[in-house]
C-alpha cells in the first residue's frame, strides 16, 4: 500500500515534494489541501499541475478512511469504528454536551498497560496508530465541522506512542494545519514519566493523569505501570510545571466500592496533590467482564466529591456517556475484530 499524505507535517510534506522534484512551496500547498479544504483525493488538488498530481498519486495515497460502522447511544453519543491503514480496528467516541462536541480519539490499537478495570487492556496490544490514523478519527466523522474539543482518552496509552501523538497535535494546532487552540485538546495518560516530560516540553495541550488511588500498593494492583513508573515520580514531575495559567492538569479517579472511596483516600489525595492547581474528575466505574471490582454507590460518590471539595481540591463527577453502546470510559475494545483483517 502506498504511504499516506494525510497525517504528514508541513516539514514532511515539503521534504517529500522536494524529493519528487517538485517546488519547495508544494509542501505548503499540500498542507492546505489536506487540512484546510474538504477534499479526499490527490486529483482534487487543483492548484497543482497535472504532472505534479500524477507524480504524487504514483507514490502516495490521500489517506482518509471513512468509518466502517457508527453506533448511536440514547444520550446522543456516537461510537465510530475505523479500519486503520494497517488493517486493524479502532474505536472513537463523539460526545455531544450542550454546545460542545468532544471527540475521544484512540492512540493505539489495543493497549499494553493492562489496567485491571479497562476493557481495552483486555484485548492486548495490536499496534501503533500513525498521526494520520489519529487525525482521521476527527476528520472523517460526520460531526467534523462541529468538533470543539479533542481528548486522547480512547484506546491505548498516548505516551506509549508519543511521536505520533505529538505529530497529530502539531497537525491539529499548527497554523498550516487545523489551527485549533491546544487548550481544546487534552491528553490522558497513566503516567509514563519519560513521555510525560517530553509531552510537557513539546506540547501546550492539557494533561490528564489516571490516578485511581493515591496508595502505591493499591495502584500497583490496579495498574501495573505503577511498578515501573510510580505515581510519586509522576507527581514530582508535575510539580515542576506551572499550571496556574491556561494550561490545565487534571486527575482521573474511577471510584471503586470499598477500595478507593474511604476517608483514608481523601486524606492521602489531599496530601499528594497539595499545592498543585488541578481538578479531580471522579468517574463511575463501568464494569468489564470478569472484573473483581465494583463501582461505588451514588451516595458515596457524592460524599467523596464533597469531602475533597471541602478540603480544597476542586472535584467534579464526570457524567457517564454512551454506556449503552460501550462507548463510555474504559469500555472501548475491538478485541472481537482482532485478526479480522480486510
Amino acid at each position: 500500500m502506498k504511504p499516506a499524505l494525510f497525517g504528514k507535517t508541513l516539514n514532511e510534506l515539503t521534504e517529500l515534494a522536494v524529493a519528487l522534484g517538485l517546488p519547495k512551496f508544494t509542501g505548503k500547498q499540500l498542507a492546505d489541501w489536506l487540512y484546510k479544504k474538504e477534499i479526499d483525493s490527490i486529483e482534487s488538488m487543483s492548484n497543482l499541475s497535472k504532472k505534479a498530481r500524477a507524480l504524487l498519486a504514483e507514490n502516495y495515497c490521500f489517506g482518509l478512511h471513512a468509518p466502517a460502522k457508527v453506533q448511536e447511544s440514547v444520550d446522543g453519543t456516537r461510537k465510530y469504528l475505523f479500519k486503520t491503514a494497517t488493517e486493524n480496528f479502532i474505536e472513537t467516541a463523539m460526545i455531544p454536551f450542550k454546545e460542545r462536541r468532544t471527540v475521544c480519539v484512540s492512540s493505539q490499537v489495543g493497549c499494553k498497560m493492562g489496567c485491571l478495570f479497562c476493557m481495552t487492556g483486555k484485548q492486548g496490544f495490536q499496534g501503533q496508530l500513525s498521526a494520520g490514523d489519529i487525525v482521521n478519527q476527527i476528520r472523517s466523522i460526520a460531526e467534523y465541522n462541529e468538533v470543539t474539543n479533542i481528548v486522547y482518552m480512547g484506546m491505548g496509552e498516548p505516551f506509549d506512542n508519543l511521536d505520533e501523538v505529538l505529530k497529530s497535535i502539531e497537525i491539529l494546532t499548527a497554523e498550516w494545519g487545523y489551527a485549533m487552540s491546544p487548550r481544546r485538546i487534552t491528553v490522558s495518560s497513566i503516567g509514563i514519566t519519560p513521555g510525560l516530560i517530553r509531552f510537557l516540553n513539546e506540547s501546550e495541550a492539557h494533561l490528564a493523569i489516571s490516578l485511581h488511588t493515591p496508595f502505591h500498593e493499591e495502584r500497583q494492583q490496579l495498574m501495573p505501570v505503577q511498578i515501573a513508573y510510580p505515581l510519586e515520580e509522576v507527581i514530582d514531575e508535575i510539580r515542576r510545571w506551572d499550571f496556574s495559567g491556561q494550561r490545565r492538569v487534571s486527575f482521573e479517579y474511577i471510584v471503586f466500592h470499598g477500595l478507593n472511596d474511604t476517608v483514608r483516600h481523601v486524606k492521602e489525595l489531599c496530601r499528594l496533590l497539595n499545592g498543585i492547581r488541578c481538578r479531580i474528575n471522579l468517574i463511575r466505574f463501568h464494569p468489564v467482564p470478569g472484573t473483581p471490582l465494583q463501582g461505588t454507590d451514588e451516595e458515596t460518590l457524592q460524599w467523596f466529591k464533597d469531602e475533597l471539595n471541602k478540603r480544597g481540591l476542586l472535584t467534579t463527577i464526570r457524567a457517564s456517556r454512551g454506556q449503552d453502546i460501550y462507548a463510555a470510559c474504559g469500555l472501548l475494545s475491538t478485541k472481537a475484530l482482532s485478526g479480522k483483517k480486510g
Partner: protein, 211 residues
Amino acid sequence: MKQTVLHNDEIAPGVFWLGVDRKHDFKAGQTVKVGLGDDLPPRIYSICSGNKDAELRILFNIKEDGALTPKLAKLKPGDEVRISEPGGSFIGTPEPAVWIATGTGIAPFFSMLKSGLRTDAILLHGVRRTDQFYFRDIWEEMLGERYHRFCSGEESAGAMRGRVNCFFDVHEPPEGRRFYLCGQASMCVEMRDLLIARGVPFTDIVTEIYF
C-alpha cells in the same frame, strides 16, 4: 551512570545476558534503565542476577523493530553502557510464591532465586522454542518438580505443549501463595483474568508488564 561491559553472552539465538560491575544494592525483582548515552531513550530491564553477586546482569532479546536492542547486542566486553540505579517495586516477599513468566520475563525470578529469596517457589515458564528455556539447568537443580515448562511453538521434551496458562487446565491455583506475573501484556492480562476467575484475589497478584 557509565559502566563498562564485562560480558555480553548470547545465551540463545538473539538473546543476550549482559553484565557490568554491580555498583548499587538492589532488591531482587527490581529493574534498571539501560541506554547507550546517545539519542535513544533508555529502556527498562529487570535485573537478572543475584543481589549479592559481583556483577549486575540483564537479559534482553533483539527486537525486530527495536532501536536499542540491536545496538546492545553488538556491545563487546570493554564497551561503555549506561545503567541507572535500581528501581521499581516488583519485589519478591517472604510469602510462598508462584512465579509465572514468558520469554525473558524470567529475569526477575532468576534474580529472586539467585538472591536466595524463595527456593520453594513454583515457576511456570512459557516460551515459543526449546532454546528459550533460559537457565534451565539451574531451575531444574533448584526447584526440581516445581519448575514447569511450556512450549507453544514446537514439541519440547519434558515441556507441556502450549501456552503457560495450560497449567491451570489441569491444576487449581495453589492456595496461600502470591502470584507474580512477568512478561508480555497479553500473557499477563490473560493470566490475571484466569486467576481471578479461579478465585485468586486480585490483591494476591503482582504484575510486571514489559511495556
